[in-house]
Symmetry: D2
Subunit: 415 residues, 4 copies
């Protein structure tokens, strides 16, 4: 269904040619300042052609809050968010190539198999336009996370085609073993990333190579994929549910729900399979500078952290407080201006399809805010679930004694 | 929470040292023959040390059905499944190394951060023993899928450390471009996979290399990771929900919920990011031999399939009827018999931990049935959701005319 | 949360003074004709002052479909529905009585306790305006149910204050024992009910008494409650889940979620507690005229029905195919133009509140379409859940023999 | 499905003749002392024939904790609970009256319609035995609620057939207007209720009348219904979600999910429909003795309460801190030792059914702990949901100013 999350829950609607796209955000904490200005920047970052944006006034995809706030403050009730579609007319049918053939590697065919009804746009909800609601909802979650815990979520492009920012080497089969990578994720922020528009790869040399690589594919009327890496800093420890709803499982779910994604890896990832356990294990060390516990008695900052971070900030499905980082694979866009031979819907014929116009040869730069949005939805939901547990536990009377009595000062209850 | 699925829903319980582990399977279709004999084989396949199994009578982890069947037939009511724990005593605390130090890259620390209570086993539910309930439930889903649709789910080991069955090459940056791989997934089955015990990699030469690789790590008291590839054949088209619950998103969720996993990729995966769109796109062709539509009027077999399968059987989040295949990364086991320096729980001290006994240096062979089980849970849930939709649509009156009228015979309604 | 249903799922948003109210309907079967004209009539029926409506053009609360349909046909994707608010300005605060005192028996106080933020309208989402989204969504479910199964859902007023259509008597402690009631629910329809506007009690004499009763309360600046009875005809058998999600449990949930409701009873209800079991039990009889099984192989019509219907069409939480009927209690509206002494928000003071203007002295006539809408949402969700099960079972091979063998022709499998 | 609750979630399994019945409780706060001794008393109270219990050692329905606790303390992980069935043999079929005829007003027929498979016990999960899991889970929720907030939940019998503890009178059309009732619910507790065994109506005279009434029906081989009233004291304010998941909606859902229930009313209920708004409205007053706010910064006790309590402690779907009370209707048991004429399963014949043995002529005394259990599950789930919201809000920075500025000291933010 079109719902994501349990405590902080987003429900989206809308396809390419209907009146509007939007979402309902349910469960947003009350008492938070919130206006469209908090949401619009991410909306704008996900628009096509950001590199060319010169006047911020010329904004498209303007989000309008319908409900859930008053005088710029959240009420705690559902927040309705709407963005009008510019082209609201469903396309006519008949005598057009696109009505005869399902486009290769698009969702035209599977939507028809699923619903038995063909939307004028082919795979109605598979359009990138569907991600507008996600980005809007994510911006709200993100604002809360930053205000309440200082959580920072930053995504950036780490590869385009064969051009990698942190290529696998015998020494560093995975970026988690690469000091340059570990260094980068400590400091990277969105402002820095956006300095590297249009590619959003925060390394001048690699970024230029990527831009050139993309331009090559564009020229050839072809397309190419790439990867986006995302880091979540200052995340509280204890988030994620053991067993089925591990934090990495929810993140993987969220990422693979983004159109055009083909893979997800957290921490050492696929490369980590080739690192011996003796090196891969992350020893614990004392947290260098634990922030003073807030007088609000919330989830405390952890006393320990890990010396290395092959785990990617998650152990046993639960955040340990170290930065969480993961990488998402995006396939080459299916729409290309090359002739492709394919079968008709009814399987009786075969013909040639050729897209017209200019198409985006690589989606990863635009995917950056979508990856950030989905990350923030996952973290926000997990945080509220842990808050319920933590708060419920806090109201219990202290156990009469540590169980069982421990002479060495290590109790069953560490806090 | 410890629940997976909506229509076919599994809820599990149990940790290492409690009385039993088990699950409740809710939503199983009524009228299916089911006894413990349908479940036990997969339970046995996930046991440690399968290679040494000689007498099937000497089975451990015996599952017992508590409810939901009568005379060997499912009633449609919840199926309770229980497996007794052999070592039911929680371990005593005090004066032991394990009480002082959280084990590196284990869940001891994060469980304590999450719950504020330390289980005697460290990270209680993070134990591999928790997967018993999943495998039991998966065996039920699997039986249904096979009986009703002939679905076949087979997992196998494709890499151990740096030893790969289908290594990335310039010609084949992804297995989806490798004819040998595409060939293999058409024919592979469990019987074949189990001929390659103890590694479960269905290639004699590679399998031997892997076994040797594992032996090397064992000798060095070290551990190593690997990958498991899984293929789902004969899956009906139309499964998976657009937007958040795409089929690959649910599969990624399911896989990353398995202990020790670090990555997931479907179809062309990460390697596919380096393949041009013109090659990556999967043209449609007529399905060579569509099975006659069953007279039961169920979800029909698709008229089209794809010539290549870089999509991995899923487009726009929805199955297209072609084989679904994906790969899962497992990190090196955290338990090694080497000395590791790490901090105490309270962060005040530092010391050396060293696991005793012999430990499994590589988990991928045992992970095979767990990957299969989680796959079958995802497919079963998606199938029942699509059945509800398909059946609901089937009861509607036919639309008076195709909308809008189409002269070329291509209607809005293709079926 | 603001979500109802699992397979057919409605999520609503909006309060009194925001831009719009609306909902997202997810899971609607594809291929159904649907335009605003299918939804608007119920929207209009729930408007205040229906009795005075003369020109249908003068419609307020105009619903606009945002997504999920094309060319008047449902796509299967989420349907966004929006109704603009006329008064979109949140009210200013300060120096007003309503800012000082929580209104008695309103939600002002509890909303503040829950959210810690005071909406300008007091209890933001507790406004009757919130029901707009429910009625819109219900109209869609209703259309499907009628098209696919001929289900008819009709609600009507059965009491206002002490004026009852079917008063409890020694002979008929419950309407379920009253032949006049049983007769009525076989034939009643909406057209008939609306002939008895403004009260919607389908009995001329009683209706007049009720209208007079309401007028009396209006004159005294007071208010009065009443009950609405609802009947669901032609409902398929087998709907409702045993245990927690019995059909009557979901109906009770749905009804008690309507603002101002205080009670729910199904079938014989509270009066049935006083009927001996020997009379209360409903003997089975052959269904007089089973409709021929559709060639669409859907859920079949039941061969049996009950001679009496104290059960109210539900046994063991599952529909038996007989008419389902239930009654809902609505309290007197809290807003009255009488002076009421009450405490200030901070508990420090006490004062007198007096509502201005004219207020609706009795809500039951307007509640009729809301009760119908919530009923249709419950039935639709239960139907799709049962469709998934029924369809899943239908794809299984027939059991080899009835289990256990029965000589007398009564098999374990009745169909 | 067989799951109840979102944050504190119970999943049950089991029918009459399977190996065991039980449940999994997920989401229980960690760090709470819990053993079987906390659960068994309510299990025993729901057993048939409590009045005759003399030796506590002779306990049946012994619950055994399978997981989720260690050394008598909850770990926060799922708690598995099992009770063995004594009669584990499914009954044979063939040549028996019960195989030919669905029993009137039992679930035999609807289960067959739903599942297409006939369980040996008729309506498998509709057996009262299914409630064991609910009572066990409820006892855990109840312990938490008492420990953390002093919540007290007490149910008692208020009518058997026509014998009422608080009959409707012109002066008191509803108990909420009856001072004796309002007085009783302030003080009643379980110990008092159990002094009135076997009927559990806490009024000596009425209780004796009820006992005699039941005995009369027993003698006539007939059965009779009755009502159970339940009161929840010391419940925190702010529980319950606006719109669909109002606290009373969840309570109604919970109650109507108990076998044999036909109605639910909260606060003034059906009788309240006949009380003018001017009397029915509950004015606010300062809470006489607000308990000092705990230094744990949890959900605070409300400063206001209501002078009268026709609302039943809930306004706008949210608890206001006053006692919540409601009443549940139970029909006469369907199993009676009288001959009943009814149709065969196949609708071809008609015959006479007559139950053998002695049957419980009235279920309300045994229903008392079940009503309490379901109440505690509802409150616990709502509490944890509110804890997440309250805690999330608490971590936000204070708003810079009250919005909008208010000269009269009443701010938008009351706390």
């Amino acid at each position: 269904m079109s719902t994501f999350g349990t405590f902080f829950r987003v429900t989206t609607y809308g396809e390419s040619h209907c009146r509007s796209v939007g979402c309902i955000v349910d469960g947003c904490p009350p008492g938070m300042e919130l206006t469209e200005d908090d949401i619009q920047p991410q909306m704008t970052r996900r628009r096509p052609g950001q590199s060319a944006i010169t006047t911020p006034r010329n904004e498209k995809d303007r989000v309008v809050i319908q409900s859930g706030t008053e005088f710029g403050v959240t009420l705690g009730t559902p927040i309705g968010l709407i963005v009008l579609n510019e082209d609201q007319r469903p396309k006519d049918y008949g005598n057009k190539t696109i009505d005869l053939y399902p486009r290769p590697s698009h969702a035209d065919w599977t939507y028809l198999e699923k619903y038995g009804v063909k939307a004028s746009s082919g795979g109605g909800r598979s359009s990138a336009r569907e991600t507008i609601g996600r980005v809007a909802a994510g911006a709200i979650a993100e604002k809360y996370l930053k205000l309440a815990y200082g959580v920072e979520i930053t995504a950036f492009v780490t590869s385009v085609g064969g051009v990698h920012m942190f290529p696998s080497t015998p020494d560093h089969p995975t970026p988690s073993q690469n000091p340059a990578f570990i260094q980068l994720i400590q400091t990277i922020d969105r402002e820095t990333v956006d300095k590297f528009l249009p590619v959003r790869c925060p390394d001048e040399e690699v970024s230029e190579k990527m831009a050139k690589h993309i331009a090559d594919f564009k020229e050839r009327n072809d397309s190419i994929g790439g990867t986006v890496t995302c880091v979540i800093k200052n995340i509280p420890s204890g988030l994620g549910e053991p067993c089925f709803d591990k934090l990495e499982a929810k993140l993987a779910h969220a990422m693979l729900s983004i159109p055009a994604t083909k893979g997800f890896e957290i921490g050492s990832g696929f490369g980590g399979c080739e690192v011996p356990g003796s090196i891969h294990n992350d020893p614990f060390i004392r947290t260098p500078d634990v922030p003073a516990t807030s007088d609000k008695n919330g989830i405390p900052r952890p006393k320990l952290t890990t010396k290395t971070n092959n785990s990617g900030g998650v152990q046993g499905g639960i955040s340990n407080g170290a930065p969480i980082y993961f990488r998402v694979a995006f396939k080459p866009p299916a729409t290309i201006s090359q002739a492709q031979t394919t079968a008709t819907y009814d399987g009786e014929g075969e013909g040639v399809l050729e897209a017209k116009g200019r198409h985006d040869p690589c989606v990863v730069p635009r995917a950056v805010p979508i990856v950030e949005a989905m990350s923030s939805l996952v973290v926000m939901d997990a945080l509220m679930q842990q808050m319920a547990r933590h708060e419920a536990r806090r109201q219990l009377p202290a156990l009469k004694q540590t169980v069982p009595p421990a002479d060495n000062g290590v109790s069953m209850e560490a806090k």
